[in-house]
Amino acid sequence: MAELEIRDLHVRHEDLEILKGVDLSIDKGEIHALMGPNGSGKSTLANTLLGHPGYEITQGAIIFAGQDITEAEPHERAKAGLFLAFQYPVAIPGVSIANFLRMAINAKRDEPIGVKEFRGQLETAVALLDVDRSFTSRPLNDGFSGGEKKRAEILQMAMLAPDIAILDETDSGLDIDALRTVAEGVAKLHKSQGLGALIITHYQRIFHYVTPQFVHVMLDGRIVLEGGEELVERLEREGYDQIRQEHGAVV
């Protein structure tokens, strides 16, 4: 069984059914791409996987590391090794990145992390993301630029060392250099730690640095098409119209 298994997932927000039966399996060390037009349900899937209370699962199940986590609290999922890099990270005023990370790391452990060990990890992550050390003293996402927010997300991912990460449009809003840094960071974690990832994106460019083995296309709350890397190129060329015509009506 794969590390993360999503089975026939139906999700509702208030009166709106957004996900209408999603099946997806991601194993450690695998890179998956999830693409789809605006509003098709990608972020809903990402948030639901982490247990956002605003999304109600009406049918189906989420299995992670052999456990049914469909009903689990968000922090339990995080502790089990799941991570979400948010499309729109929120600000946490008054709490520095470093302090927040220390709390998050300690939440996973019985004994609080030692000062030296923490500093060592932070230094490694800071180097990986090519940010200034002083960056981690800033209140998390408070007044950050779009690009800084995205870097902070991947910095957290590097520190928390999840088994499976969902990156929700982490590449959006990054300049060319930042994109390379962030994407290479993901690639490195993939290589060194066997990170598995679901990369949600609208663009091909991130895949110049991390190669997806599996590509999924979501339309209107369903995954309608799956393939390999070549699918990304096809989407780039054709857009979604063709696929919508072929698969849009499929129930």
């Binding site: 247990g51 922090h75 999922r77 929120v90 946490i92 005023p93 008054g94 709490v95 927040f100 998050a104």
Partner: protein
């Protein structure tokens, strides 16, 4: 820097964008002294005090326990207090060396281990210990009970006692002026700079206790010092009362950092407190009350810039839980210009607590070139908690800037989810959020031990609200 309004008196019309007048009126320099009969003998400290006590006693006897009613849901009523059943409890003071008196439990639990310039402790009606650092006393600093200062005929007492406090505005204010015992007196002479804080501690020892505390602090020209006041109560069930009249006078160029840690515990403790700080010429005060507990807390806090060049930063924190009710009135008064001001309060409520925070900027006629800003931010941690924040601006000069802002918030579920997705449980996430909320003000204490004390109390309040904070989430 456009003027906000021009009005001769506080009852004149104000621009519509400001709320109706506050329920409470500022003291604005009123003094119980002016009401004394001409014949009263006031030539020295002791006789002045006796005359003021006598005057206050008749106000006390004539008045009923105060009830303040505002339209809508809000009433602040001391009527449930069985005043006749309360007594002033007295305790043996320390031996002459003052060294070995154990702190009352509540104080031992709260007060940080730290360097300090001095400490005076009052338990119920009695000052039980006074200590003053050698270095401070060598420079002429005086720290003693207020009773003693009066008895010794202190010149500073004679000059300033009740200079800006009244005694006839309500029964509890009158009770304080008439009946106070013990009390604290701190005088820092001209040019004396003391880095470590003076601690003024009062503790309510048991149910049935009425404590009328009184504080007078005088900072002479160019003195610099810090004062931390702790208002505490032991853990008991039943009624008790703390009243307080606090006044501080800063002369030319004096600088003071003043902070209060107020937590009157889980008993049915009533708190009726008035504090005034007068900032003189080119003087500066950083003032930060942290109001953190009591059954019914009514505090009038007034900071007045009384001479040109005076400047202040008025910060405040409050957190009401359970069935606590806080009724606060904070005044930023500019009697003259140029003067500066900056008022920033942050408050939270959990359980079915209620808190009302009225903030008033008042700029007197002629106080030109006064610049001030008032902001009140609040967060409600449960659906039944309620906070009213009422900022008002009364401006009677035209070359000034005065404005207000603020926010009313609930817990932001998206932020909580963000933190949970990183592994923090809901309670921890809420704690981070609330601590972060208080941080902009708390951090300004710039005093680690005291920050720690305030943080610990906030954490206790959050821990106590844990079940409800989780239920709040589940109910969404």
């Amino acid at each position: 820097m456009a003027p906000l309004s021009s009005a001769d008196t506080e009852t004149a019309t104000r621009p519509p964008r400001h709320r109706e007048a506050t329920l409470y009126a500022p003291l604005a320099g009123a003094s119980a002294r002016t009401a004394l009969p001409e014949s009263a003998p006031v030539g020295d400290a002791a006789s002045l005090l006796a005359a003021l006590r006598e005057q206050a006693l008749s106000s006390y006897e004539a008045a009923e326990l105060p009830v303040w009613r505002r339209s809508g849901f809000w009433t602040t009523s001391f009527a449930p207090l069985d005043l006749a059943a309360l007594e002033v409890h007295h305790h043996e003071p320390a031996a002459a060396d003052g060294a070995d008196v154990p702190l009352p439990q509540a104080a031992a639990k709260r007060l940080p281990e730290r360097a300090r310039a001095g400490r005076i402790v009052q338990l119920d009606g009695s000052v039980i210990s006074v200590e003053l650092a050698e270095s401070a006393s060598a420079q002429g600093v005086r720290l003693c009970s207020l009773e003693q200062a009066a008895a010794e005929g202190s010149e500073a007492f004679h000059r300033h006692y009740s200079q800006r406090l009244t005694s006839d505005r309500n029964k509890l204010e009158a009770a304080n002026a008439a009946l106070w015992t013990g009390g604290a007196f701190l005088h820092v002479p001209a040019g004396v700079v003391i880095e470590d804080p003076f601690e003024i501690v009062s503790v309510l020892g048991s149910a049935g206790s009425a404590q009328h505390a009184r504080v007078l602090i005088v900072g002479d020209r160019a003195s610099e010092f810090a004062v931390h006041e702790y208002t505490l109560a032991e853990d008991f069930e039943g009624q008790a009362l703390h009243t307080e009249g606090f006044e501080m006078y800063l002369s030319d160029g004096a600088r003071c950092r003043l902070a209060h840690f107020q937590d009157l515990g889980p008993g049915e403790v009533y708190d009726a407190t008035t504090r005034v700080v007068a900032v003189g010429r080119d003087a500066f005060c950083h003032w930060l009350p942290a109001l953190l507990g009591g059954h019914l807390v009514r505090q009038h806090l007034e900071l007045a810039v009384t001479e040109p060049g005076g400047d202040m930063a008025f910060r405040g924190i409050f957190f009401a839980e359970d069935a606590e009710m806080f009724d606060m009135f904070a005044v930023d008064l500019h009697e003259v210009g140029p003067s500066g001001g900056d008022v920033h309060w942050r408050g939270a409520a959990s359980g079915s607590a209620r808190a009302s925070m009225e903030g008033l900027i008042k700029i007197n006629p002629g106080a030109q070139q006064s610049h001030t800003y008032l902001q009140i931010h609040t967060v409600m941690l449960s659906p039944k908690a309620r906070i009213d924040a009422i900022p008002s601006v009364l401006v009677s000069a035209d070359d000034v800037s005065a404005s207000h802002g603020g926010s009313v918030g609930e817990l932001d579920e998206d932020v909580i989810f963000y933190m949970q997705s990183r592994g923090l449980d809901r309670t921890a996430a809420v704690r981070v959020l609330v601590e972060g909320f208080f941080e902009p003000v708390l951090g300004e204490l710039a005093d680690e031990p005291l920050e720690g004390v305030v943080r610990a109390k906030i954490a206790e309040k959050l821990a106590a609200a844990r079940a409800e904070i989780e239920a709040y989430a589940a109910g969404r």
